[in-house]
Symmetry: C2
Subunit: 183 residues, 2 copies
DNA sequence: GGACACATGTAAATGGTTACATGATTTT
DNA sequence: AAAATCATGTAACCATTTACATGTGTCC
């Protein structure tokens, strides 16, 4: 998976390992994360397979290692992209814990839920800030519509999580979770 | 993680490794999955740590290995449950691929999206069937409200995914994704 | 008697994380 | 001159999947 993400990011622009870490964190941090300990070996692996190539830029005592994608790297990435999206590639540890929350006494349960609701609201706020900025910058109209759309998915997914957690904290009838307006 | 899930499932009822696999698949398969190759060694590990105990039930040529949770296992699980839910424990490979979908030509892109929408609709249909059954069985009213609630979360999350994918397949303005009715 | 679900396990490979080690450059 | 950030890397560890190996019980 990481290999494909690195190739995808290098499709946008050449980058260092450090730069990859940052863009992965910022752009897709809500759905994925990677550590330096996986990124650097992955770049080495991709280089050996000739999917990326390395350009060393010396300025002063420092050597910057910039990786760019090769033609065969592009081909590999494009064939990954064209594959059907496979189901079952999800892991949601939040909901997993909620599944077991019946075992916790009422007081502790609502405490855990409330704390999580607060954290999710903070996170949602940050996403909405990013959206506001990118919206005034007129992003997401042309060649980065899909990329930009994942931010909107993140916002909606966070809102769902908050609505869901508040609903079960208040122990409202579960059926009502499915009832939304006319849209 | 798997260790805690196994302990949680054994809180409900004693079970075999095979039974654990099935209940994990059925109950939390939407958020988590585990293979036999992880379950059996996990049970062995938990037994060594004295968090579960093994009862061998012989009937005929066959020996059934039933695991049950011990007092210290209960304590470990309860302290996991009472911990705050940590953010960043998510992995959504679906949305990850959509992030890169700008690189795919229009035709292939809508093909990939359509195929995924179809699969998600099938999956949603299955969840709704389960909901209908459990609803008539009057589940989720007492000691399994939270457990049952995750099914409703799964339904809502699937609906969001479908709405999101259809929205971007049709390239509707992203802002409109955030607009819902008065609820 | 064949297919399928039940049932348990192991070995190798995969795909990471965490912690450590090191040092340059920029900002305060 | 200290702190933060930029920058690269390795080794040990961890969790887990995949593939293999083996056999039993049940249903048609």
């Amino acid at each position: 998976m990481l290999d494909n993400i690195i190739l995808g990011m290098l499709m946008k622009s050449e980058m260092s390992g450090y730069g990859l870490k940052k863009i992965i964190e910022h752009d897709i941090g809500a759905f994925y994360s990677a550590s330096f300990g996986s990124i650097y070996p992955a770049l080495e692996r991709l280089k050996r397979q000739n999917y990326v190539k390395l350009t060393e830029i010396k300025n002063g005592a420092r050597v910057k290692k910039i990786y760019s994608i090769t033609q065969s790297g592009r081909a590999v990435f494009m064939s990954y992209l064209a594959e059907p999206i496979k189901m079952g590639g999800e892991r949601n540890e939040h909901i997993l814990k909620i599944y077991f929350l019946d075992f916790l006494p009422e007081k502790q349960r609502s405490l855990v839920l409330l704390e999580f609701i607060q954290k999710t609201k903070m996170y949602l706020g940050a996403l909405e800030q990013v959206e506001k900025m990118l919206d005034t910058a007129q992003m997401g109209n042309d060649g980065n519509y899909c990329e930009f759309s994942t931010l909107y998915y993140g916002i909606e997914a966070s809102r769902l999580t908050i609505r869901y957690c508040e609903h079960i904290r208040d122990r409202k009838p579960l059926k009502k979770l499915l009832e939304r307006g006319p849209f």
